[in-house]
Assembly symmetry: C2
Homo-oligomer: 448 residues x 2
């Protein structure tokens, strides 16, 4: 880059990979343009708490411009990337009804992941996902609406389907969601819905393979299952979903579960942004990168996080986890800064501090540094502390902490409100109980 | 009521009137059915703080079932009342695609108020209102989107319109909204949008009459105006809006203000539920009631709060204020309890503790017991304390308090996120920068 102009780095995505890349370019002699379709960064590990009425959505969303208020070399564009031209070095962004071309000298693509339905269109139509904040609010609205409906329905079969929740996927998201839903049901909703007092809540966790939490050691896998089952969650293993509909899930062994709520947490794939790069993709749509995080075969283009396909020394691809994304984002930023001044680039080596998954109040498993196994209360405390420290912004951390302490003391989940168009025009409306009645033409304020 | 059956009281609306009526029937020998189209009660005095990124919407919404968890004689139905049959004594409720008939022995209608556009369809189309939580979130999303758009636009005229906010209405809502918007702009957004650093924010408060806060004494009216103007808000008096469009407001004196954000806080009318009662309505669609809160000419039907038309001893109708609604709700409940046991009913007498309006940080006016005038810091403290005490639920009160203290210390408004379908399919999208996008065919519920 032998120009007088300051090089321009365009970063696509304000998830963990993009955010840490942008932060690490603060002191570099570059201009940074960060692009995201939302104006906020989402703390995704707590989406399930938003979906289960434990936290306000705003608590885990942090405005991008607030994060970078003091970083003078950064500008933000809210919009969606529609194409990437790696020859002309520019991206096309759609933003509020207009289209912009943004030129780059260096590009970091950090689009994260999307739900993988493995081409099962039924599944996509009838299930809920938990990948972003809108998903979480939509699921929260849906769940609460099922309870309100069930309160006034006579048909026993429909009633049962409304009160049965099926979570598919034995990874951390599946466990966390199933556990939190059971607790919401058992400790909060039962007290508020008279018809639930003598009803056993049904939350069913379904996993296709024969074990939960595949990357964990076997004793932690077993502990996780035991903790779920003593809580009250039904665990079904070795049983993939073969069919889904409006009000049922069918498993491979032939059993049919009547449910209005299927949460699909059994698959992720890379963001479709990878397809815009014109290179051959790896499994799950991931983009093969060099250990410098540069895309194999492209100049000036880096891919980090869930979208990047890079193998470790054992030949296994690095997992789609937040710490990987963070560390890769930092490396890509530093490598660009090195390229700008003509230094040689560094290569990725993952500092793995282990993994953990929470199941509920005082229930969790943790595998610290992939050496020390923790279960139950201790693992839960470790999980709590880690996530609290990771939440961005002092105010958010303080109020999240208060929410958690409060929930722990009182078993309260007080964010039980059905708010927004999400509640009316999404999947929640796909099966009216009887006849569809058109929405009123004008709904005026405060009219119940 | 000489039956063995316990009498059934149906309450329509979980606003302040309906809520306090329901609470006051806790010990009475009746069954209570509370109906609202939302599953939560809204603390409406703080809607403007949600719209200006100061509070999460969930902070001022409290789930109805949570409020009445321990009230065994109450059931809740989430739905919308479509008709009232005062002869057969039943209401028709639409709930989740189905229609229910609910019989009553006694009915309390507490539907509150709606925005009054005085039949100006332009105004309804192009302005934002602040009557419910969805309105507040919609306005928040819109405001933040204007700033994101303005960051990337070259056309100076469009740029100015995006950054000019016009609030119409010189009552407390208008003052509070204008003041909070100015503070959001001045203390938060200016620091995060580089293009705003040298830009003067424009927030204009427009009032049709020659004074602000009409029911207040003149010195408080003048103080309110002075406090607004020293803050930075432009105040325009004696100048009704005569025309509005996508991107302008025209006033009676001929001046045209280019703006993309018109907040209409200049009129309310009673909920259209009143029309279902088949009685002659008063001005603003209010239902004439006896001093017992029973509807003039109907048996077993009470109307309370904003919907009720009742004159005080001076012949002036009681104002559409929360304390009036609360006290009337309590009276109606107690009168029903008296009727059930054959006691004679009481009549309404209003305990007026005065009124207040806040303008911003340390800026307010208060007229305690309609005798003691307070201005500035003291009035602001009084306002703060009163609202904090009034917020339902200890957890909400505590976290709202933290939010406020935090905002005061840091000038932070950290809830600056654009979330939900509200941000994509409402007025915010009505004027794309280039190509026109058709309005959604049906403007449902939460679209103002």
């Amino acid at each position: 880059m032998a120009t007088d102009r300051v090089p321009r780095v365009v970063i696509v995505g304000a998830g963990f990979g993009g955010l840490y890349a942008a932060k690490n370019l603060a002191g570099a002699p570059v201009d940074v343009l960060l692009i995201d379709r939302n104006n906020f960064h989402t703390f995704t590990p707590l989406l399930y708490q938003v979906a289960t009425c434990g936290l306000e959505p705003e608590k885990i969303a942090y405005p991008v411009r607030g994060i970078f208020r003091d970083q003078k070399n950064l500008n933000f564009l809210m919009g969606e990337v529609r194409s990437i031209d790696t020859k002309q070095r520019r991206v096309t962004v759609q933003t509020n009804g207009t289209t912009r071309q943004e030129a780059y000298d260096y590009l970091i693509v950090a689009g994260g992941s999307a739900t993988n339905y493995f081409n099962m269109s039924q599944l996509e139509q009838f299930s809920f996902e938990l990948k972003n904040l809108d998903d979480a609010v939509t699921l929260r609205n849906h769940l609460l609406q099922q309870f309100e409906r069930a309160a006034w329905i006579d048909d026993k079969a429909k009633f049962d389907a409304m009160l049965t929740i099926v979570v598919v996927g034995g990874g951390p998201t599946g466990l966390e969601t199933a556990g939190a839903m059971y607790e919401l049901y058992e400790h909060v909703l039962r007290k508020e819905y008279p018809y639930l007092r003598n009803q056993r809540p049904r939350v069913i966790l379904v996993e296709a393979t024969d074990r939960l939490l595949i990357p964990f050691p076997e004793d932690l896998q077993k502990s996780a299952r035991a903790q779920l089952e003593t809580l009250g969650v039904e665990v079904v293993l070795s049983n993939p979903v073969v069919e889904t509909g409006d009000d049922f899930v069918k498993l491979k062994d032939g059993r049919v579960i009547a449910t209005r709520t299927l949460v699909w947490a059994a698959g992720v794939k890379a963001s479709p942004l990878g397809e815009m790069l014109g290179v051959k993709l790896q499994r799950g749509g991931r983009v093969p990168v060099l250990p410098t995080m540069e895309v194999n075969g492209l100049e000036y283009v880096y891919v980090v996080g869930d979208m990047a396909y890079l193998e470790d020394k054992q030949g296994k691809p690095y997992p789609m986890l937040i710490p990987v994304a963070k560390q890769q984002g930092i490396l890509a930023a530093n490598n660009i800064a090195r390229q700008v001044v003509g230094d040689s680039q560094h290569t990725f080596s993952y500092k793995d501090r282990g993994t953990m998954a929470t199941i509920g109040r005082s229930r969790a498993v943790a595998w610290i540094y992939n050496r020390i196994p923790l279960t139950g209360y201790l693992a839960w405390l470790a999980w709590l502390g880690l996530h609290l420290i990771s939440l961005l912004g002092f105010r958010n951390r303080l109020t999240v902490f208060i929410s958690w302490v409060w929930s722990y003391w009182t078993y309260d989940h007080s964010v039980r409100i059905i708010l927004g168009r999400n509640s009316r025009e999404t999947k929640t409306e796909r099966l009216p109980d009887t006849v569809p009645v058109p929405e009123p033409a004008v709904r005026t304020a405060n009219t119940p």
